[in-house]
């Protein structure tokens, strides 16, 4: 496709197989999103999809294209792009800017190129494209109908932009939808991150001390799965409410410098930068494994580890003072995406259904500039369709609540 910049077009067969596997296991996108997107709302629209560029993202982009949109795709992180998927998308006629392992400068250029596509609708992750559009192409901002945002970090960035008077179009916080953050952030990240850690290290978590830094939905999910697999948890959290939740939930809650010395595995899950600072590296035990499940590649201050030795792909060993050796997974990038295939397909079926319906709302609505929630009825619709696809029937118990209301004369 004219304008695309990818690594190797010949890789398309593997990417195509991956996309087709996703299509087989995405019943909500196939039923609900495809029907909604196909109502003509996207005919001729210019849609940019900037999310981790792997097969699930590719399938979402394909659905927009099937609905008549002109689509550009770029990766939201240079370490998570799958080159075979990029090639398959190009073969499907979609413009792609992305390649695995490129420099941050090249990735930045990819985003600027995606902004130059003049998108009207943006599916964003971390507000990466929104930010570049505002910074680099203010001439194209008036064309934007709206953006839907995938992550906690991105929603925070969009709210900051709005508060600063710099967000001139509406955004829907897809991340804040129930079918997204209650499921994806918690179960999706927890499930895929513990599997990635076990696969990369070749060891089970049973019997290990695992330190989770950050107890938002991602941290909760990590803790639940790791505990289930036999790990002992220590939670580091700065907010007293989630810290209390972790404590009542039976986890040890500790300051970073108290939790780290015992930890066999340290996982960051804050969405912030420097969650595991170099200043605590002297406290790490010999053999500790470090991984990041948050948003930023910079959650672990990797530069402070010095020169590492690559043991195998996505596994590096560093020698610290006193001969202690620590292992860093996926170079400090998102361990589940850079080190494995990312969230399970069924999780992204829900998350991208949220995105699809948010985009449909933007394309058809007249929301003012600002950050808006996904309408609750759309969230429920996604959940209802998902439950139907797995054969779960809901009890129609509204009558009980109506009786309570009647009792009070409401």
């Amino acid at each position: 496709v004219s304008g695309s910049r990818i690594a190797d077009e010949s890789l398309w067969p593997e990417g195509e197989r991956r996309i087709q596997w996703v299509a087989r296991h995405s019943p909500v996108l196939n039923r609900l999103a495809r029907e909604r997107l196909g109502d003509g709302s996207f005919s001729g629209k210019r849609v940019a999809v900037v999310v981790h560029l792997e097969a699930k993202t590719a399938y979402l982009a394909t659905l927009f294209a099937e609905a008549g949109a002109e689509v550009v795709v770029a990766g939201s992180n240079p370490g998570t792009t799958q080159d075979s998927v990029c090639a398959a998308l190009v073969r499907r006629g979609i413009e792609v800017h992305g390649a695995n392992g490129i420099s941050y400068e090249a990735w930045e250029q990819d985003l600027v190129d995606a902004a130059a596509f003049a998108p009207e609708l943006i599916v964003d992750d971390g507000a990466e494209l929104t930010w570049r559009l505002l910074e680099h192409r203010p001439d194209l901002v008036d064309r934007v109908i709206g953006v839907s945002e995938e992550t906690t970090t991105g929603v925070a960035r969009l709210r900051a932009l709005h508060d600063a008077g710099r967000l001139p179009f509406p955004a829907i916080a897809a991340n804040d939808a129930w079918c997204k953050h209650l499921i994806d952030n918690r179960f999706g990240t927890g499930h895929s991150s513990v599997l990635a850690i076990m696969a990369l290290t070749g060891e089970p978590l049973a019997g290990k001390n695992v330190c989770v830094i950050g107890y938002g939905f991602v941290g909760r999910g990590l803790a639940e799965y790791a505990e289930g697999l036999g790990a002992r948890l220590a939670i580091v959290e700065v907010d007293p409410v989630p810290a209390l939740e972790a404590y009542i939930g039976g986890h040890r809650v500790a300051r970073l410098e108290d939790a780290v010395p015992d930890a066999d595995v340290v996982v960051t899950a804050t969405g912030g930068i420097g969650a595991l600072p170099a200043s605590v590296f002297p406290l790490l035990k010999d053999g500790a494994v470090l991984a990041n499940a948050g948003h930023h590649d910079e959650e672990i201050e990797v530069d402070g580890l010095g020169e590492g030795e690559e043991l195998r792909r996505n596994v590096h060993r560093y020698e610290l003072d006193g001969g202690r050796r620590v292992t860093l997974l996926a170079e400090g990038r998102l361990v589940n995406i850079a080190g494995a295939d990312g969230h399970p397909v069924e999780i992204m079926d829900l998350s991208f259904s949220v995105q699809a319906l948010a985009q449909h709302e933007l394309a058809n609505g007249s929301l003012p500039a600002g950050v808006h929630p996904l309408p609750a009825e759309l969230d429920r619709e996604i959940a209802r369709v998902k439950l139907a696809t797995v054969g779960v029937e809901l009890d129609e118990s509204a009558g009980v609540l109506e009786a309570v209301a009647a009792e009070w004369g409401l």
Partner: protein, 121 residues
């Protein structure tokens, strides 16, 4: 290390265990515990009292496989699997490779099941 049969199955397929019926054919405590930790609803085929005592549903083979989306077995008759079931643990079924290490086996009625290369049970 039979936990690896579970994790390989999920790593190879990028599928979710949570919420799914996960059948394990024959009693393997480590595999059952791992699948349960990943929030699957574990049923053990021919697991007997040992499985039942730890809170797992222990069912006859055909009954255990009837609803299972994910299966671990050393060997299995594909006719007993539900449509779309994904099976690992040592099973080999003829078919095209649809993802690295994942083979689609088309049954005589035209429906498919998938065999995954994993560590053996």
């Amino acid at each position: 290390v039979s936990y690896r049969a579970v994790t390989d199955l999920l790593d190879r397929t990028n599928l979710l265990a949570s919420g799914k019926v996960f059948a394990i054919v024959g009693w393997d405590e480590e595999a059952a515990r791992t699948a349960r930790a990943l929030r699957a609803r574990v049923v053990v085929a021919d697991g007997g009292d040992a499985a039942r005592a730890l809170g797992y549903a222990a069912l006859p083979l055909a009954e255990a496989l009837a609803d299972a989306e994910l299966v671990l077995a050393r060997d299995v008759d594909p006719a007993l699997l539900r449509e779309g079931a994904v099976v690992g643990g040592g099973v080999r079924l003829d078919g095209d490779e649809v993802r690295e290490g994942v083979f689609e086996h088309v049954r005589p009625d035209g429906t498919s099941v998938f065999a995954v290369e994993t560590s053996p049970l």
